[in-house]
Amino acid sequence: MWANPITLWRKGILGMNCRNVAYIARYNPRERYPLVDDKLQTKMVVRKAGVTAPELLLVIRLQHEIEDIEHILANFTQFVIKPARGSGGKGILVIVNRDGDRLVKSSGHQLTAADVKRHLSNIISGLYSLGGRTDVAFVEALVTTDATFEHISYEGVPDIRLIVFKGYPVMGMLRLATKASDGKANLHQGAVGVGLDIASGRSIAAVQFNRPIERHPDTDYPLSNIEVPHWRQLLSLAARCYEVTRLGYLGADLVLDVHRGPLLLELNARPGLTIQVANDRGLLPRLRHVEALDELQHFTVDERVDYSVEHFAHDVGAQQPSLWDTSNVPGGSPVSSN
């Protein structure tokens, strides 16, 4: 029921306090947070760096712009409405089809134009943003899920979370929506996390509500033999985000589009820790490994990805760090926990 903190430390599990003090506070400059907290801004910035993202269709900044929005939206059949500052998938409205005047949600529910307008108004008045600040709504093209994920996701689009530390992808996870998570790829709400081998993109283990599982709870499809296609491109895309944001400890959320390949959905300056459970490995050994590297050793994105693929493959990552090797973790001590 309870883990022994010394064993956890020996396995290199990163805790919340250690993540906040030793990694986020240390490697993520405060002034760069707005860049990732605002998805619209993220989109604009990464586009310049050649990072592909879902096509931006529309930005709605003011309440009065909503009035005759249906005429503009009439141009699109499939689209996603998102709040720029929403967190945890809140306020995201996915429209997959049209039925006359009505719009069909991914769940099959139908919405009137008035419903959509009210949703847009809520976004702009800050219903979904942190602290209730006024927000911006944007509309982007719907991602068409890659066929690989056809049987393993319930309604929503599966996304791939990669932890990028100082530009090196160190750990990956596939997030699958479930009925419990209401079609959202949010682990807190019950989405399934599938750990992915950095070297190959193959699944390692799966977890829902912090408990290991074997099969998708809704589709009953086995989760042990998934291999994410375009893996190398996904790694490069995520690694490139480091150059753009200069955030040392970064979570990149990517999707695979059938037509356009890997796309960046959003970035996260405070990525969660469950990825360790899904991978059955702790983050600390890999983070320390990168910290010990010479800053000038790898210049290009490709060099860093090569290095990660070589050193953070699942089996190699299994090596245990010494209990006494705490030199790279400031303020950390194995017995000070609890």
Partner: protein, 501 residues
Amino acid sequence: MTQRGPFLFLVVMLVVGGLTSAIFRHNQFGIPFLPGAQETVWQIEAKINFWGDGTPVQAILSLPSDQADYRIVNENTVSSGYGFSIEENNAQRRARWSKRDVQGEQTLYYKVELVADVNQTRSGEPPPAVEPVRLDEPYATAAQAIVNSVLPRSADALTLAQQLIREMAVVPRDQNVALLLDRFALPSLFSDLLALANVPARRVQALILEEGRRRQSLVELVQVWQDDQWHLFNPLTGLITDTSNLLLWQTDTPSVLDVIGGTRSRVSFAIISQTRPALTLATASAQGMDAPSLSLYSLPVEEQNMFKLIMLLPVGALVVVVLRTLVGLKTSGTFMPVLIALAFLQTQLIPGVISFLMVVAIGLFIRSYLSTLNLLLVARIATLVIVVVAIMSIVSVLSYRLGLEAGLSITFFPMIILAWTIERMSILWEEDGPKEVLIQGSGSLFVAVAAFLLMDQPLTRHLAFNFPELHLVVLAVILMLGRYTGYRLLELRRFSTMMDD
């Protein structure tokens, strides 16, 4: 990240500074570390009577000062129409009453409150000079004869004093002693004989402290100087080893009371003792001090009461930090639980929790209707504030009608905080479901109750208000926790599945 050295230095400085200051103030002002520590207070009232015959009058009374066993915590006088001042010279304090036209019997009071204080040690007094004694014949020869006969039998000042007392007490009396006692009072003879032997000695007036005595007078005793301190002798019985019930009233001039311009003057003493919280005494003596001390006691009583609450906030903040970084509890609003705990302090726990849950539950119910109205955020919160006010007034009125006094305490809850809590809970309910509301709600309530239980301890309240410097220690602990990188207690559960292999 800053270096570890300066950080640790800061933390250590805060701890050392806080503790040193607390210990210093404990020693200096006698502020007790524990609440409710009791001390015995001796209240002594000196009553002066005299007759005036229409002339200007001055009454001068010797006053006691801080001494080996006793510390003065309070003194005052009752004397209508008299000018009053306290003079101090050569360590002897005197009170001086004055009035121009005095007719008939007069009564003046001087009251002093003392506490036993064993820590009070006074040393470093220079050895007093021996004043030469001049006696007329035949007394001079007789006195010299006594000294000469006793001196060989003594080793030092104390043994000499002992032998002199024994010599004077021998029955039948020695001729010389009889001659001298015929002429002089025993105490003055005793000190004169010591002076002849070149031993520093002085006559003092002492009061024997006995509970509930009235019309007491001072006893004349003699102090003999040896080994850098005074030793007290009773000229009749010898060395007084236990001085704990003796208050030295006067150590200088022979007369305790001088009344100039009055007749038939006399002074008598009444003594009572009582036990009082040590803190009251410390406060009383701190108020009497002229030094602009950085003390909360110097504030008006009303503000002091407010600070008694304010000073508990850091304690609550510490509880929040501990429960969030060490345990990993989720709360709704970081410090909302502390404010709720402060409200609990005034409502008491059970009525507080019940009214809190009631307001939040009713609020959530009304809020669920508000969410269908599509209001903007600020308007929605404002509406909730009004809703909370309405709930509070209705609950108060209803519980008063039903005779439930506890229901009235609901007004102690901070209304804006309650409104925000309801708003947050409601959004949480809509977005993450009732389960998350339950987790965060019970987390907040748990933290609030934990903070309340700690803040409600008499010891916590006492230390937080009377030793504000201890907050530096709290600060140091919070700083340390701010750099804690170990696991949270609940993480041990979260990662428990990673243990099996």
